[in-house]
Subunit: 188 residues, 2 copies
């Protein structure tokens, strides 16, 4: 049953960090949510900051894997974009807490260097993908970062709305949004 607790603590922390933020979440809160003693957390994590960084890197890795998994390497760019878009949406819906946690934590003062560079590596994956389309002349004459703002920014905001029920993620709506984002970045 051992490594189960490690997982339970991370899961509890993720839920609370997503809801209340890092500083708004106390270690005893995490312990209660994970149904362990407060001291137990320190058997698995050196301290609160190491815990949040480990959680962050795990979430980013899972996020990146979601995007890479089944990536249509052989298909055309339009298809690749669709894949990334829908995987971003899927992750934000299947792991809303992780998604919210990642986005709330990206620029946090308590992230260590490894966490920051892990996240950069992830964004590079998206950026490389976009640059490819730009070189092929399929995308507008804008910096890749601008495309990221449009696509990632849109999905980030959408996920908030899906979470709080402001918007219902029907297949039709998602298809419309995918097209909107594509139209926003594609040339002509």
């Amino acid at each position: 049953m051992a490594e189960n607790k490690h997982e339970m603590i991370l899961k509890a922390a993720q839920k609370l960090f997503a809801e209340r933020g890092y500083d708004g979440t106390t270690v005893p809160m995490i312990a209660e949510e994970a149904k362990v003693g407060a001291g137990t957390i320190y058997r698995y994590f050196e301290n609160k900051q190491k815990l949040v960084n480990e959680l962050f890197r795990g979430s980013v890795a899972q996020f990146a894997a979601t995007l890479r998994d089944g990536f249509p390497e052989e298909k055309d760019f339009r298809e690749k974009f669709r894949h990334v878009f829908y995987r971003l949406i899927r992750y934000s819906r299947e792991q809303p807490e992780a998604f919210r946690f990642i986005n709330a934590t990206v620029n946090a003062y308590f992230l260590d260097e490894q966490s920051k560079s892990d996240f950069e590596g992830f964004m590079d994956f998206i950026e490389r993908h976009l640059d490819e389309g730009k070189e092929a002349g399929l995308l507008r004459a804008l910096p890749a970062q601008a495309f990221i703002a449009i696509v990632y920014g849109t999905i980030f905001h959408l996920s908030r709305m899906f979470e709080d029920g402001t918007l219902e993620p029907s297949d039709e709506l998602l298809a419309g949004l995918e097209k909107s984002c594509w139209d926003a970045i594609s040339a002509d």
Copy 2:
């Protein structure tokens, strides 16, 4: 000199809340930044939570005023959209701390009912504006909330990039982004 301090405390709090979040900012930190004694803060604000809520409402009001000011009521919808887009950008650049603070705080657990409804009122302004364009058949068959996710989500993400220097907000880039957003929401 009296009411100056009220303003200084709010300004200091805004800066720190934007940088470190509500729970990561201590009252003595705010006092030091505002160059007042810690106790002085409690002459102007009942407690930390009342302070953050007052700051939030003030920021939202200022934000809303920025959008409404000079709104081209008589011009066509395309022009109105351009106005809102550029004002959103302008606010995020001229008041980056306020913009960041608002977005980081919208869903926070410490917001009171008045703050929440103030923000809703602000979003309604944007939503009404979008609904108008939708009724005129200028926008796609998507919920207004979807347009908000695209436009506001994009601008929110952009502002992060402008702040940390990832992207340089040239007139050309902004014009390109405005067109991207318009293309993402406009029909056909």
